[in-house]
């Protein structure tokens, strides 16, 4: 177990009302518990507004969690002190969605890639240059690009630079926040393949955040679905697609537009999606999905569904399964 999230919450305060006196909270992440194994590619899927990116940002420390524990290699990051951040960030890196805005347009590639090395005081000037060359090689770009600005590069090439920047400090864990959704399909495959081979080569663990379930099918070892700041379902990928349980998972799977008959037959029977994701300020009582759920019952409005383990690795958060199966908690022993 390299990373364990224990009931992580991230609330953003919003003030409004007369003289901004009323205080409310956007509950972007509202109690997520997960365990990610070393070397695995963990897929986190959700619609916009589900809190998946906020969770990723909280893990790498861009946001400080409101409550809960982030145990990374046995150490709780949630209580980290200012000075520890540097030590931790060497091990935890992030690749952002849009390389067009995550790379500073006024810095050359060399400046961009060298900064993390300088921050962490790694190597002499000469050693750093060698390291940069090696990094570009790793992401399959020519060395000459060191002196270019991001604008001279295509979208795919820029994302490779963003990946190289994350790799510069030799992390063990990388959060990939929609790393390919800004790219064309013909380029997407190559970038994902690169990420996979880098993971193998450097023994990396990924938290792969995306809204693309078809991509997850081919990339992740386990998949989690998030909705309104909470988990709906977590399962190993093959099980997840073979035997989806949560009504939201089914709704998502059935709405994916696919390109062949063969795939069409793999989708659960069509349930017409209704409604939209509610605001995380006024989340519905009980289960957050009940307002859109075709199978909502009375209890769904009253109680939050608990985590139910359908089998050892497949968990679902839904009242439909709450009483029928074993209620379990994670076995945290690694």
């Amino acid at each position: 177990m390299i990373l364990r999230l224990d009931d992580i919450k991230k609330y953003f305060p919003v003030r409004h009302g007369f003289l901004q006196r009323k205080m409310e909270y956007v509950k972007a992440v509202d109690g997520v518990s997960l365990a990610i194994k070393r070397g695995e590619i963990f897929g986190l899927v959700g619609e916009s507004g589900s809190g998946k990116s906020t969770l990723g940002y909280t893990v790498v420390g861009i946001h400080r969690s409101t409550a809960g524990k982030i145990i990374f290699k046995g150490e709780d990051l949630a209580t980290r002190q200012h000075m520890d951040v540097r030590a931790i960030s060497r091990k935890l890196q992030i690749v952002f969605q849009d390389p067009g805005s995550s790379l500073n347009p006024k810095r050359t590639i060399r400046q961009t890639l060298e900064l993390p090395l300088k921050v962490h005081r790694l190597g002499t000037r000469r050693e750093r240059l060698g390291k940069l060359r090696e990094l570009l090689q790793k992401v399959e770009l020519p060395e000459e690009y060191l002196h270019n600005y991001p604008r001279a590069l295509s979208g795919g090439q820029r994302q490779r630079i963003a990946i190289a920047r994350a790799l510069a400090v030799e992390p063990e864990f990388i959060v990939l926040d929609e790393p390919t959704s800004a790219l064309d399909v013909s380029v997407q495959g190559k970038v994902v393949r690169l990420l996979l081979s880098l993971a193998k080569e450097h023994d990396l663990t990924y938290l792969f955040i995306t809204h693309d379930l078809s991509l997850m099918r081919n990339v992740a070892s386990r998949v989690a679905i998030m909705y309104l700041g909470k988990l709906c379902e977590v399962a190993p990928t093959s099980e997840f697609f073979k035997n989806p349980l949560h009504p939201y998972t089914k709704m998502l799977l059935s709405s994916i537009p696919v390109v062949s008959e063969e795939e069409e037959s793999l989708k659960p029977e069509r349930s017409v999606p209704k409604g939209e994701i509610p605001s995380p300020v006024n989340r519905p009582s009980g289960c957050g999905f009940r307002t859109r759920c075709p199978l909502a019952m009375d209890i769904c409005a009253q109680e939050e569904p608990r985590r139910t383990l359908v089998n050892e690795e497949h968990e679902v958060h839904c009242h439909l399964f709450n009483n029928s199966r074993i209620k379990g908690d994670y076995d945290w022993n690694d």
Binding site: V185, L213, R217, N218, V259, V272, P273, K274
Partner: protein, 336 residues
């Protein structure tokens, strides 16, 4: 060319160039397409392939200069749009509705939804001298038609109070309010989540069937094309590479680019991460004079780079612009 004769809307050999300081970019290269009444047509291509330029020329929002229409015709119901000016042009264009790409950027944030919608209605029905009451009635009706909950209240909402899906519904309502005959939708659902996308597509399909409209939907999402359209045009770097009925094209893609594109989509069947297409889109400044896909094509021959492939009819409506199919119009040995 029976398809073209019966067409409500057709583009013939459209060439558009951009005159920039560093040279002339011949972006659209002899683009031809046709939309018949009641048809749902897809125009597919990746970033920078010219699909949005095509849309902009049609609705007349291409900045000229730097853009320049080098040659070609755009016919709508028997009139060449490119030869019209002033009021006549406005009247023809009023019969073409546009659903823009990014719903958040397309509504003015400082005006209420109702104000913007009423402006659109007042202009598109300018020959009818509608009273304010009638306009309001029309606005409420059309918002109800696109399934916006509580249309009366939403008229006085500002765009920031609506979700992305609701904004897209308002924009669809705006396009429908003018009673168009053809809708052009530029990436109508890329900014939306899959569940909302499905709702919006369903709504568009219903509106199209009910009003017997034609639609040209421009997108890079092949799955959406497969589920939504009747016929497809595949565009690469300003050239149409292949066209045919959606079923033919997905079951038997012919052009190497179409095949590559279909193979690049990650599949639910879990066959692993696709390889994608090697290389990158050419710079238009140095685009090959022949087939622009030839530098990335694995079956390229000498003739490809120098000679522009003509559209070849394979069967039915399935046409491909590729030198591989020049002589033997038989099955491609590597099809599938």
């Amino acid at each position: 060319m029976t398809a073209e004769e019966r067409a409500l809307f057709k583009i013939r050999n459209l060439c558009v160039a951009f005159d920039l300081f560093r040279g002339t970019l011949p972006v659209l290269d002899h683009v031809s397409l046709a939309v018949r009444r009641g048809e749902k047509i897809g125009l597919v291509g990746e970033t920078g392939c010219g699909k949005s330029v095509t849309m902009k020329v049609v609705v007349g929002i291409l900045p000229i200069p730097p853009g320049r229409i080098a040659s070609g015709e755009i016919w709508f119901d028997g009139t060449n749009i490119l030869s019209l000016h002033g009021g006549r042009l406005q009247d023809v264009r009023g019969r073409i509705g546009l659903i823009p790409q990014d719903p958040s950027a397309s509504l003015n944030p400082v005006f209420q939804v109702g104000t913007q919608l009423r402006d659109a209605i007042r202009y598109s029905h300018r020959h009818r001298n509608l009273s304010a009451k009638e306009i309001r009635r029309l606005a409420i009706d059309v918002l109800a038609e696109v399934g916006l909950p509580d249309p009366v209240r939403n008229l006085s909402n500002y765009p920031f109070q609506l979700s992305g899906g609701m904004k897209q519904r308002v924009l669809i309502a705006m396009a429908l309010a003018a009673n168009p005959e053809l809708l052009i939708a530029d990436e109508p659902t890329t900014a939306l989540d899959v569940t909302i996308q499905e709702q919006v597509l369903r709504l568009m399909r219903e509106a199209i069937d009910r009003r017997n409209l034609s639609i040209l939907i421009i997108t890079h999402n092949l799955g959406l094309i497969r589920e939504f359209t009747d016929r497809v045009y595949i565009m690469y770097a300003g050239q149409i590479g292949e066209t045919g009925s959606t079923r033919d094209l997905f079951n038997r893609p012919l052009h190497p680019y179409t095949k590559g594109l279909l193979a690049s989509v990650p599949k639910l069947t879990g066959e692993g991460v696709p390889f994608g297409i090697p290389g990158t889109v050419p710079d238009y400044l140095n685009a090959p004079s022949g087939c622009r896909f030839s530098p990335r094509c694995d079956r390229t021959t000498e003739v490809c780079a120098s000679c522009r492939p003509e559209m070849i009819l394979i069967e039915g409506e399935h046409r491909v612009a590729c030198h591989l199919y020049k002589e033997e119009q038989e099955d491609d040995p590597q099809a599938g």
